[in-house]
Symmetry: C2
């Protein structure tokens, strides 16, 4: 059997389409068949000789239990939209504006102890004597006229959010599924015995694919379709809360969290914003709880001789594959759905035996990004190939163990172009995996440290998929980095204080003023600023994008303005004309103009900053020498194949490294990976045209001619792996 | 004599061009001849029967005295550009980067007591033991490596700034003029006796035109031509400082100002920024000093039977014609140079017997805005007519007593188009003055209150001419208002607390977050916010432009978001999708798209805000009903004739006033003014094309056909003034 036509592939089977299932398993070389949310496997499939994954969403599908124990359901803090008082008395309807099918007020005494009423005009917490509650409403009897009031309260979440999404997007009509909180003692007992019984009753299953654990990412629906989603954050912990959790936290930490720690003036705790210390405590508290409970589930699964894989999405909150407690759970595999290269690296960076990717598009009528993928007018093969161009270059750096698909297999009927494309991707994946089995691809002696408030906990991802976070330059930078031949570390400000820069060659800080990626208040710390200053002065490289190191209260808007050679006028430079400049005609590295964007108000700090690119009067790409090091400023960065190459060139420019060590193409729309142990060069044409590519290697230059979008495997020695 | 061909006109005469002077006096109908900076009048001119103005810059032209008493010269605080320490010892050259012909270090013991050395990385003031001074340099012996240090110090200003400007711009080569500080006792005695002697020696002079008083606006030159102007602010007080002033201040106020009160982390105290309380104290202190000294000069002038006019520019700092002490000086006239309508209103708003405008262009080779007006390629008549279109509409609302020109008269030779244009403007000015002599033009029952941190002290102007401040939407709004038939008041936040809104119909707040025009921290005050909320709720109108009411620490970026119906996403709305909207197809008032600009991040606060204009996904013009009132938000506003009309329509929409009460044209590029007492309608065609204009008045509709750019005077009754 040709090893590149079979294996490492998980196929979504579908009862009622048994023949199709087995045909497609053959075509795509599947060794595993799985069910999906909305599909089942029949005995004809499970007994066909494939390994079987069974999808279980542990906290869902227990509506009968939820009906009997409504207090075992999950909760969240919500706030009423602030209302302006026009007299001394006012009544606030708490759930006004929220989706009534998602929430139900928790007005138990235990919950109400956590309610708060705020005068948002003064930002003053009202004393309990100032308000009273009845029938879903809070009444204030002594308002200050023309002040704005809001109530923070706890609500039950009565519709599991992924099920809610599938109903509202894919027109499902089945019963709304509820979700149980494993912190509820009866629910936890019930879930364990339910899982135990399930394992006993399903001997055909080899791997339980947990989708995922207990707490969904935050997704709050509104009642008005003009703003259906009020809030959604892939990495927020708000849906883990309950009076029981708050009490346990207080017992352990010796201080109490309040509603305002979650509500924060109605803005909630989005991952993109700077975390408070209290939020960090709470997250750690939840992570330990989730790890402990998850380990118990894995124990049950293992006790039945099955393996436990976990899906890295949906109800993944608290699991944190890049966190401190993940390895302790004992999972056998981690499955990440991917649109992008950074998501591959996100998956491979977790400590777990098997890394698996679930490719997009999902076999659903409508794609997650809203495309009509498998509906009228859709082009699933184009979507798949576009994602593959992103994923491929990351796999060429660090391969996974398995790939696969999910959804309704019957949607592939008649989609020959798509089906062929997937077969080809699967084969190329197997080749990359085989090469890396011999040894890692050659890497430049360059370590890039990406600095932000979350550090390694948010390695590679910001908060969700690329298209959900694409207004942040950092996700574009991470995407570019995911396929470059350099070491990448994600470090926090605490890491900087602990000497992390001693092991870095280039530091990247990319974000907007006050966000978690730029770092906000962390830049008020003179130690951080002087350590980065030292790092560059002594020869390090710095790349700042957007509003890097922006902080309040400094003499410059960017705490690193003196290093970057640019600062931002947020009004403070009123009456200070900027330094005049002319755009440099020579280009010290390849500048991909289409990947460079503008940040308003950027100005030079002095005459020594070189402007390589600009929009109107605003420099968008500058270079500044500082001591023995250099700094590059980018107003904004958008991922493109050319932009990824520009980033590589910047790294070479900043470090003086010789790109040939890892292979360097003479075409900026082509990339390569050189596997010294496998004596094989991989060349990827990232463009839609065939091209001649010459690759400089330490041993000389190699010429290849990959077709449009093609990946070539070029044997360069006697020991080259036969592909 | 036709009263519209002569009078109210000040001509700049020029010795050596006597015949030209008298010819042009005849052509333009001058009744006054003046000298200018750089020109003299000969006896042939002064004895020709005209009243004579003599220009005196009181603190200048005393180089001999300055040489003998160098400590009588004026000073300023400067700061050395922050330098990064790379070891423990560092020497800072204080004047590096400053224009060496403008500044000289004041390292006297008295001055050095005010010097400060700052660690800007920590924002820590060093103790005097940590540094030492010698030969223009400060040496630090115990730096923290990679911290940035800066020295704040006092420097003598050894070149009067207007003279410096004329040398560097108009290639003057005469001796550099120095300037004396009237706070120096010997200098003050000297200046008084010098003036007294001058008056005695110049009996031909009727009016002494003071240009202006003692302290120039701040204008700091750098040594590098790529940033020649380091700082320039027309209304800043930094050039009034000296150890003597600081000591007197401390004696009076009981607390000491420090260098940092002026330097403010190197950003100085620009008028566009929020003033500190200490700056307000200092300004009041200087205003009293200037008024007291100016009154003494006026007394001397009056004692010689002459009148004292003062020029509202150049060394005007501390004079503050809209301040508390101006009237007490006893000036006979105020002369303002004007490019714009708001500058006419700025002049007429001062309490003084005679208001005079000096038109632009100045008779100089290069115009103040940098145009080659009277040089090769210049079109002085086009410049003059463009300015006139702005000035005319303001004069139609509130006329001045006199107009005039300045500069080198000989530059008008051969400029027939310019000379004719000025003659026509002068005649039209005289007609407007004659109409207003009968009574004010009809006004709508609408009072507009413009709210900013400076209140009435900065009525109409921001800080300098239109082209110097044109990135601020407020100057565009003020320019539009200057020709509208409404009452306009400029109020401060203190005025709001004292009930100023009780007398307003529409409130305008227009600025950028944290600037003096938006108001910054003032919006943290719940009383201000609830008072404006009340005002609109009870029926008032609100116009917010740019980042109105933006303040830190509130639950919304705009403290008035709930009233405006829009807020700004400065990052805080991360993960909160905005309300969807569609642009309204019906237009509740005339929207002049070209006058509407965008502010980034604007989003609706709810579904009830109507979007009238947008750029891409960002609303740029919205309307929101709030209680019985309404609010309009403008992302940005650029003055244009159509934009001025849009603003008028907005005021009518917000107040429900009937525009016919003051006359309303059916063409948005035409304006009118209706003089009931003079029974005359004035119609101004603001476009470059002839047009038919129908004007709705309370008595019916009047039809006119003004030519391109023309102003028509239409008699509408038997008592109409013959023009």
């Amino acid at each position: 059997m040709n090893p590149y036509t079979k294996g490492g592939f998980t196929l979504p089977g579908e009862a009622g389409y048994e023949r199709l299932t087995l045909e497609m398993a053959e075509k795509w070389g599947a060794d595993v068949i799985r069910d999906s949310d909305g599909t089942k496997l029949s005995p004809e499939i499970t007994q066909a000789g494939y390994r079987i994954y069974s999808t279980i969403c542990i906290i869902r599908e227990h509506n009968e239990f939820a009906r009997l124990h409504p207090d075992a359901q999950q909760q969240t803090f919500l706030f009423s939209e602030p209302v302006t008082a026009t007299g001394e008395k006012m009544t606030i309807h708490l759930l006004d504006g929220y989706f009534e099918e998602q929430f139900e007020l928790n007005d138990s005494g235990e919950a109400m102890a956590y309610w708060q009423v705020w005068d948002r005009t003064e930002d003053r917490l009202l004393s309990p004597e100032e308000w009273e509650y009845a029938d879903g409403c809070v009444t204030l009897n002594r308002c200050v006229p023309y002040h704005r009031y809001s109530v923070s309260f706890l609500a039950w979440r009565i519709w599991e959010e992924i099920n809610m999404y599938n109903h509202t997007t894919n027109h499902w009509t089945s019963e709304h599924l509820r979700q149980l909180d494993p912190r509820h003692p009866l629910a936890w007992e019930y879930l364990q015995s339910w899982l135990d019984r399930w394992c006993r009753e399903n001997p055909q299953t080899n791997v339980i694919r947990l989708t995922s654990l207990f707490y969904n990412f935050v997704w709050i629906f509104g009642s008005d379709l003009r703003r259906r989603t009020r809030f959604t954050d892939w990495a927020s912990y708000d849906f883990t809360v309950s009076p029981a959790a708050l009490k346990a936290f207080e017992r352990e930490y010796g201080y109490a969290l309040t509603a305002e720690d979650f509500i924060r003036q109605g803005k909630l705790q989005a991952t993109h914003r700077l975390p408070t210390d209290r939020k960090r405590d709470y997250m750690d508290f939840i992570q330990r709880f989730v790890a402990e409970k998850a380990a118990k589930l894995v124990e049950i699964i293992h006790s039945h001789g099955k393996e436990a894989y976990v899906f890295y999405d949906d109800s993944w909150v608290g699991m944190e594959p890049n966190g401190k407690y993940f390895a302790s759970v004992g999972f056998d595999g981690l499955i990440k759905c991917v649109f992008s290269g950074f998501e591959c690296r996100l998956c491979t960076s977790a400590e777990v035996p098997v890394h698996e990717l679930r490719f997009h598009p999902y076999l659903f009528p409508v794609g997650l990004g809203g495309l009509p993928t498998f509906s009228e007018g859709g082009h699933p093969e184009e979507d798949a190939e576009a994602y593959w161009l992103h994923v491929r270059r990351a796999l060429a750096r660090q391969c996974v163990d398995r790939i696969g698909l999910g959804g309704y297999l019957h949607l592939t009927v008649g989609q020959d172009a798509f089906n062929d494309a997937i077969a080809k991707m699967a084969a190329d994946f197997r080749r990359l995996k085989a090469l890396q089995a011999c040894g890692a691809p050659a890497e430049l002696p360059v370590t890039v440290a990406v600095l932000h408030a979350w550090g390694s906990l948010r390695s590679w991802t910001l908060s969700g998929h690329f298209h959900e976070t694409d207004r942040n330059s950092l996700i574009h930078i991470n995407e570019a980095l995911s396929g470059l031949p350099v070491k990448v570390r994600f470090i926090s400000f605490e890491d900087v204080e602990n000497g992390a820069l001693r092991e870095a060659d280039v530091l990247i800080n990319a974000g907007r003023a006050g966000d978690a990626w730029s770092g906000g208040d962390a830049w008020k710390d003179p130690e951080i600023v002087s350590e980065v200053t030292r790092f560059v002065y002594e020869g390090g490289g710095l790349i700042g994008a957007g509003e890097p190191s922006a902080a309040e209260g400094k003499d410059t808007r960017f705490a690193l303005a003196h290093v970057l050679g640019v600062d931002q006028d947020d009004g403070r430079y009123a009456c200070h004309p900027p330094w005049a400049w002319t755009q440099e005609m020579s280009d010290p590295f390849f500048v991909a103009g289409e990947s460079v964007g503008k940040t308003a108000g950027i100005r030079l700090t002095g005459p020594d900053t070189l402007v390589l690119n600009a929009r109107g009067e605003t420099p968008t790409l500058t270079v500044h020498e500082f001591g023995r090091g250099k700094a590059i400023y980018l107003g904004d960065f958008y991922y493109s194949p050319a932009g990824a190459r520009m980033l590589l060139e910047m790294l070479l420019y900043l470090t003086g490294a010789d790109g040939r060590a890892a292979g360097l193409t003479d075409q900026y729309l082509a990339e390569c990976a050189w596997y010294p142990q496998a004596e094989t060069l991989v060349v990827m044409n990232n463009s839609g045209e065939p091209m001649e590519v010459n690759i400089a290697l330490p041993s000389g230059t190699v010429r290849t001619c990959p077709g449009a979008g093609e990946i070539c495997f070029v044997p360069l020695g006697e020991k080259a792996v036969r592909l």
